[in-house]
Structure formats: structure tokens, C-alpha cells
């Protein structure tokens, strides 16, 4: 059609430029000319036959400078020009456009890539994520075709490498599915709706719709992971141009540091001899809200498998990872991409990428579980055992990988996994029961008469205990929220809460645990009668004449030595107080135990200003990353006749015990005994306190002031 016209070229852009025309695609073409007269008649000669053929045409007529100007103003045009391909006419003109467009793209890379990211975020907001949706948009969703184009565009700006073989294979399979979808529906629709699943699958030579969705989920995850990485590289490249300063390394956990916005392994870390490093790094990354660097992930893959049952440190790290809430999702996804999740939890394989084809569910089973755990993280302050809540949320649907009622098969799988990760027999049983009955509360609340005492009694009999009821309630909310808007709303939440209140009234509650008994060697120290401080690798014992503030001052000394308090038990025998701390170094080598002991002794003698020392250290400590639930302070009266129980649930951080204790002391309260537990990143602290006259707190004002003082000490 162009014949031998000089100074004119027909250029294919967009999908046509990439040679990816599908049955329903637009024909994206640009008629390029060197400013000649009468171009309109040439254009007509080309456009009319195309229009007459019925193909959809997206066309423009421009000179090279015009095309570049439009591209500079509109990023979508700029992206289309990156794929410009010569079709007919003067090839030199096309070459000129291609080179000019690339030059402009690179010159303005910093703002262009930021715009590109903005476009990506906007698409994610509207279309969601290909891998986890049951009716994904193959082109626009996160992990879809547009994201691969984005990677190519970033690569064109020379800040990241072009899509690798895994991404290219993923791209091909999504493109194939889209091609078949267009052919079957006869429309340019990119959304793979449920009615088309099976037919598209058959045409693609797959068994059924589930197989298709599994394949697409795998492809979508690969692309999404790669596009995130490309954007991070782009951001770093533009950031480096801005600051050009030395890269800072900040310790996050033992063997794990943050550098340049990513989490990497410390130089001294040795994955081959440290099986817990994988989970420790993942937890640290999620808690700091930073991604794990790909090179760190590659090294973490060298970690030997964890011993079964897992050591406590690994379990704590898993809980801390899940406790980071939404931040945990990206980290989990990164581990999954490297195949590390199924190494940790082999049962995960059966739910991985498994679609759930009903109108209630938004996500695949595996993503639903991770989402449920993220929602559970916001409710960790509402249950006595936040660690069990997070684990139950992660495991509650593992039965969906097996035939039969998933609650029944899930109970077995959940118990197995709970044993594998080293939970005690009682805790494993609680997780198994929570899995077995995770639908009980929503089902009964919506289908049975709550005013009928038999209904409430039956639930109370099935559940049996307050801890399990709390767990089931929080799990029902997390599960419902993670399922989708049709599965959970205020209406249903109200019904379930009503049922829970009624069942609670039937079940008697256990009081919070008080201080535990002392061991013989600890009793011997008390009988020896003189103040003492004994420091070993993981335990610190302090014995001194009983006086207010001993526990929290000692905790302050430990925090100032970078020792994290994982548990504490304080009690007094006669006029002597005993505080026993379980400790672990926050990161790096443990501090010198003789130094810690001598500081403790100086504190006992009143020769050490803990406050000054600690404040200095906390100021330089890690930033607060993902804190997803506000702290909660509750006064419990029925637990003791001689004291009031202050229950504090908060995010664990350096100096936490010191801060709470100081606040209680500041209210003029006497600490009788205490029990502190750290479960993952969550601290559950119980203090038995009395007022100056040795009585429980009764005045409403004093009680309120106590709660406010503790909350005040917890807020940043």
C-alpha cells in the first residue's frame, strides 16, 4: 500500500510491535512521515481497507519529533514505542524513531520508572493478583502480561536485566491462555471467568480448569516476583544517583542485616551450619518490613533442613514472621518462589496454587492461609496465646489438599505439622482442635437459635475451654476476612460475637498464670541470704532483698547488654526477691557474662544509672517495623485475693519489661510476682501488683491511671 513513497514508514507498536496479535487485539499502528504534504491521502489509502476488513485499528499519523513529544508526555505511548517494529516504507525513518524513543526513555529513566511503578500499583489496586484470584485478568492483574512488559521497559532503561528464562516461560503460558480465551469467547476479554475455565483448559491440553488455574498461578507468581525485583533495582539505581554515600549495614537479628533497603545475610553468617537462619532472616525481614534480597535467598537455600521437632528458636521465628501481618505476605511469597516453604512444611505442597472454585473465595488455598495469618496478626492481643492463633490461621485449611471434609482431614494434618514444628502435646492438641472446629462458630451463629440454651451448651461442650473459644473466635474472623467480602461482614461478625459471649458465660475462665516454682539451685541462692547475680548463656538469676523496682531494673540492665528477655519469673520468699530471666542475645555473640553480672551487682548496690544507659541504647536501636495490633492492658480481678493482675499484651521490643515495670512503679504499685512470656514477636506479660498498703486496686481512678500509665509507656 505504501509502495515506493519516500519519507514514509508504517510502524507497528504495542502488541502488534511485539508480534503478539491475538484474535481480539487492536491493530496498533503509527504512520511515520518526514513532514511531507499530502500525508492524509496516504493515510486514507492504508486505513480504509483495514477498517473495511473489520479489524480494530488504533492509529496515529506523526513525524518523528511529534511522536517523541507525545511519548514524553504520555508514558503509555512511550511504552508502546519501546516495541516499535518496522512494517513497510522507509526503514531509516523507523530506525530514527526507535533510537530516539529509547534515548528519551533512558534520559528520563528516573521519573519514567517512577511513573511505571505508579501504573503498576494502580493496576494491582484495580485488578488484584493473577496468581491468587479465581477470575484473574490475564493482562492487567499483578503477575500478568503487562508486568512482563514493565520488566522489559525497566531493562530498556539499563537498570535491570531483561526477563530470564523462567519469566519468559511464564509469559508464554499466560499469553497462550489469553489467546485461547479470545478464540473461545470471540471477544477481546482478558478476564478468565469461571465459566470459561474448563474449555480454555481443554484447548490448552490440560486436564481441567483446576490444572489451568494452577499453571497460571505458578506463572503469575513468577512474574510478580520478578517485577518486584526489577522495580527494586530501578529504585536503587535512581536512589544511588541521588545520594552516593556509603552503604549502611544495620543488624536486625543474629546473622541478618539490612542494607540499602533490603535484608541480606551478615558477613559472618553461615547458612550451612545454621538451620534456623532461614526463618530468623525471614522473621527479621517481615518485622522490619523489608524484602529479602535475592542473593540472600539463594544463600538461605543452603540451610540444612531443620531437625524434627523444630527447636524453639525456629518456632519463635515462624511466629514472629506471621505476626508481622501484611508484611509477612511478601516475605512468604519470596520463600515460596525459592521452594523453601515446602521444605519447611512439606504438607504445604498439596495446597500450593490450589484454586477454590466457589463464589465465596477470592484466593487460592495457600494464599488464603497466608492472608488468614496476616489478619490474625491484628488480633494477637485478643487471645491468651497469640502464637497458637497465628499457627492455627496458617494451618486451618491444610485439609483442603485431601479428600473428604477438610476440617476432619485438616485436624490430622494440623496435628502432624504442630508436632513437626515442636509444639508441646497440649498446644498441638489445641491447634488440631481449632482446625477441626474452625467453622463451628460461624455455622452455629448463622444457622442455630442462639436463644436456645441447648445451642450454647452444645458449643460449650464441643469447645470445652476458654483458650480454645478465644482461638476459634479470632480464627473465624481471620478466616472470614481472608475468604472474601461475601464470607464476612459486620452482620456475621455480630452473630458470631453474640454466640461467643454466651458460650463464654458457660465456660469458666482460668486465671492468668502466676509465678512458677523455683529450682533447687535457685532456692539455695535465696538461703545463702546475700544479694547475688548469676549469669549463664541463656538464664540470668538475680537474688536481692525485696524492694520495689528490682525486677524491671534488672530487666533494664539486661536490655542494655543487648539481651532479649524471652521469659521471666519473679517472686519473693520472705524478704528476699528472686527474679529469673530466660535470655537470648538480640544478635551477634552473647555479651560477656561477667560484665552483665557485675553491672547487675552495681545496680543492686545503687551504683548504676540504668535509665541513662538504656535510653541511649534504645535510641540507636532498630526502627519499629511492622506493628499490626495496638498494645492491650487488662486488669483481672478474680485471679487473686491479695493482688490485682495486670495483663499486658504488646509487641516485644528491647527494654519492654523495663518500661512496663517503670510505669507500674511510677503509679506507686508494688510488684508481687510476674510472669513474662515472649511468643514469637508477641509479649504476654502478667504482673501481680498491690498498692502501697498491700491491697488490690479497687479505686476506679487508680485502675484507670494504671492502665493509662502502662499504655503510655508502650507507645513510641
Amino acid at each position: 500500500m505504501l509502495g515506493a513513497e519516500p519519507g514514509v514508514a508504517l510502524v507497528a507498536v504495542g502488541g502488534y510491535g511485539r508480534r503478539e496479535l491475538l484474535p481480539g487485539s487492536d491493530l496498533d499502528v503509527l504512520l511515520l512521515h518526514a513532514g511531507r504534504e499530502g500525508i492524509a491521502s496516504i493515510a486514507d489509502r492504508i486505513w480504509y481497507p483495514v477498517w473495511d476488513s473489520g479489524a480494530r485499528l488504533d492509529h496515529a499519523v506523526r513525524t518523528v519529533p511529534q511522536a517523541r513529544r507525545v511519548a514524553r508526555a504520555d508514558i503509555k505511548v512511550a511504552l508502546g514505542l519501546l516495541n516499535a517494529r518496522h512494517v513497510a516504507g522507509d526503514p531509516a525513518l523507523t530506525m530514527q524513531l526507535r533510537e530516539g524513543a529509547l534515548e528519551d526513555w533512558r534520559a528520563a529513566a528516573r521519573t519514567r520508572l517512577a511513573d511505571l511503578r505508579e501504573l503498576h500499583n494502580e493496576r494491582v489496586r484495580i485488578f488484584g493478583e493473577l496468581a491468587f484470584l479465581l477470575e484473574p485478568d490475564l493482562k492487567e492483574a499483578r503477575g500478568g502480561l503487562r508486568d512482563v512488559h514493565a520488566i522489559q521497559a525497566i531493562a530498556a532503561a539499563w537498570v535491570a536485566s531483561a526477563p530470564g528464562p523462567r519469566v519468559r516461560a511464564a509469559y508464554e503460558s499466560i499469553l497462550d491462555a489469553r489467546h485461547i480465551l479470545h478464540e473461545i469467547t470471540g471477544r477481546a476479554s482478558d478476564r478468565l471467568v469461571q465459566e470459561e475455565h474448563d474449555e480454555v483448559a481443554r484447548a490448552a491440553g490440560l486436564l481441567d480448569g483446576d490444572a489451568l488455574l494452577r499453571e497460571l498461578a505458578g506463572a503469575g507468581r513468577t512474574v510478580a516476583y520478578a517485577v518486584d525485583h526489577a522495580f527494586r533495582q530501578a529504585e536503587r539505581a535512581s536512589g544511588r544517583r541521588l545520594r552516593r554515600r556509603k552503604l549502611e549495614r544495620r543488624p536486625l537479628a543474629d546473622g541478618v542485616v539490612e542494607q540499602d533497603g533490603e535484608v541480606v545475610l551478615a558477613r559472618a553468617a553461615d547458612p550451612k551450619s545454621d538451620p534456623v537462619l532461614l526463618l530468623r532472616a525471614a522473621a527479621a525481614a517481615a518485622q522490619a518490613g523489608r524484602p529479602l534480597a535475592p542473593r540472600a535467598l539463594a544463600r538461605l537455600a543452603e540451610c540444612p533442613p531443620l531437625p524434627v521437632p523444630w527447636p524453639a528458636e525456629a518456632r519463635d521465628a515462624l511466629v514472629a514472621l506471621l505476626g508481622a501481618g501484611p508484611e509477612a505476605i511478601a516475605v512468604w511469597e519470596a520463600l515460596d518462589q525459592e521452594g523453601l516453604i515446602t521444605v519447611l512444611i512439606p504438607d504445604w505442597e498439596r495446597v500450593r496454587n490450589r484454586p477454590q472454585r466457589n463464589p465465596l473465595h477470592t484466593y487460592t488455598v495457600d494464599r488464603h492461609l497466608v492472608e488468614a495469618a496476616a489478619h490474625a496478626a491484628t488480633m494477637t492481643r485478643d487471645v491468651a496465646r497469640p502464637d497458637l492463633l497465628l499457627l492455627a490461621a496458617l494451618l486451618h485449611d491444610l485439609g483442603k489438599g485431601w479428600p473428604g471434609d477438610h476440617s476432619v482431614s485438616g485436624e490430622v494434618v494440623a496435628r502432624d505439622v504442630a508436632h513437626r514444628i515442636g509444639l508441646s502435646e497440649a498446644d498441638a492438641e489445641l491447634i488440631a482442635k481449632a482446625t477441626r472446629h474452625h467453622l463451628l462458630l460461624p455455622l452455629v451463629a448463622t444457622r442455630r437459635d442462639l436463644d436456645d440454651p441447648v445451642t450454647v451448651e452444645q458449643v460449650a461442650r464441643t469447645v470445652g475451654s476458654r483458650p480454645l473459644l478465644e482461638l476459634l473466635h479470632a480464627l473465624a474472623i481471620a478466616d472470614g476476612l481472608a475468604t472474601g467480602p461475601a464470607a464476612w461482614n459486620d452482620w456475621k461478625a455480630g452473630l458470631v460475637a453474640d454466640l461467643v459471649h454466651r458460650v463464654e458465660a458457660v465456660l469458666a475462665g482460668d486465671p492468668p498464670p502466676g509465678a512458677g516454682p523455683l529450682r533447687a539451685d535457685q532456692l539455695a541462692l535465696v538461703e545463702a541470704g546475700s544479694p547475688a547475680a548469676v549469669v549463664s548463656d541463656d538464664e540470668v538469676t538475680v537474688v536481692a532483698p525485696d524492694r520495689p523496682g528490682l525486677l524491671w531494673r534488672a530487666a533494664g540492665v539486661l536490655a542494655s547488654h543487648r539481651l532479649a528477655v524471652r521469659g521471666a519469673n519473679a517472686t519473693s520468699i520472705g524478704t528476699t526477691a528472686v527474679a529469673v530471666f530466660q535470655v537470648a542475645p538480640e544478635y551477634g555473640d552473647p555479651p560477656d557474662s561477667t560484665l552483665v553480672a557485675s553491672d547487675l551487682r552495681r545496680m543492686l548496690e545503687g551504683r548504676l544509672d540504668v535509665e541513662e544507659r538504656l535510653e541511649r541504647r534504645i535510641r540507636g536501636a532498630r526502627p519499629r517495623g511492622a506493628i499490626v495490633a495496638p498494645p492491650k492492658v487488662t486488669l483481672v480481678d478474680d485471679a487473686s485475693l491479695t493482688a490485682t493482675v495486670v495483663e499486658v499484651r504488646a509487641h516485644d521490643e528491647p527494654g519492654l519489661l523495663w518500661r512496663i515495670g517503670r510505669a507500674l512503679g511510677g503509679c506507686g504499685l508494688d510488684l508481687r510476682s510476674a510472669r513474662v512470656e515472649t511468643l514469637g514477636a508477641e509479649a504476654v506479660d502478667v504482673f501481680y501488683v498491690a498498692d502501697e498498703s498491700g491491697q488490690p486496686l479497687t479505686s476506679r481512678d487508680v485502675r484507670q491511671a494504671t492502665i493509662e500509665a502502662v499504655l503510655g509507656a508502650l507507645s513510641p
Partner: protein, 112 residues
């Protein structure tokens, strides 16, 4: 034609649905709703905190029917939804001018 609207206790929905199907009702609309009537809201105290329970969860059900069926239909719903306790709900009917089936364009009783 009449629109029969019923506000019932949520757990009674399955019974009412079954009874209406047995009666020959082809379609209905169900909405999760909340409100209060003579039973009123009440205050509950739980672990020291007060909860104002002012709106009670209910299900709202709507059925279109011919004029002559309306009374029978109301009777069927009342029988199925009754527990005899406060908060059982209400059923009423309202006259309807026009009904159109969107797919076919049918009007009036044919569209029910």
C-alpha cells in the same frame, strides 16, 4: 401483584426457604440486615467492658407474588419462622405496580 417482605431470625432462614419452596415459590431475595423492634437493644457487660448491643442481626426476605397468593404466603412464612419468643420478626405485604423480567421483557404476573 404483591411484594411480601419478612424480617426473621437468621437461623430460621433455612426453614422458611424450605417452606416457601414447598409452597411453590420460584425465587426470592435475601438480605442480611439488622435492626430492633419491641425487644430493643440491650447492654451487656463482658470482662469489665460494656457492650451496647443496640441492633440485632436479622434476615430480610422479599418475595413477589400474585395478589391472591399473598395471604397464604404470609401464613407459610409466619408458621416456619415462629419460635414464640420475642424478636421473631415481622411479615408484611405491599402492592406492586409493575414487574418486568429483565432478560425477556415480560411484564406483570408473567414476570413473577
Amino acid at each position: 401483584m404483591k411484594l411480601v417482605t419478612a424480617i426473621i431470625k437468621p437461623f430460621k432462614l433455612d426453614d422458611v426457604k424450605a417452606a416457601l419452596q414447598a409452597f411453590g415459590v420460584k425465587g426470592m431475595t435475601v438480605v442480611e440486615s439488622s435492626g430492633y423492634g419491641r425487644q430493643r437493644g440491650h447492654t451487656e457487660v463482658y470482662r469489665g467492658a460494656e457492650y451496647q448491643v443496640d441492633l440485632v442481626p436479622k434476615v430480610r426476605l422479599e418475595v413477589l407474588c400474585d395478589d391472591e397468593d399473598a395471604d397464604d404466603l404470609i401464613g407459610v412464612i409466619v408458621k416456619a419462622a415462629q419460635t414464640g419468643r420475642i424478636g421473631d420478626g415481622k411479615v408484611w405485604s405491599t402492592p406492586v405496580d409493575t414487574v418486568v423480567r429483565v432478560r425477556t421483557g415480560e411484564r406483570g404476573p408473567d414476570a413473577i
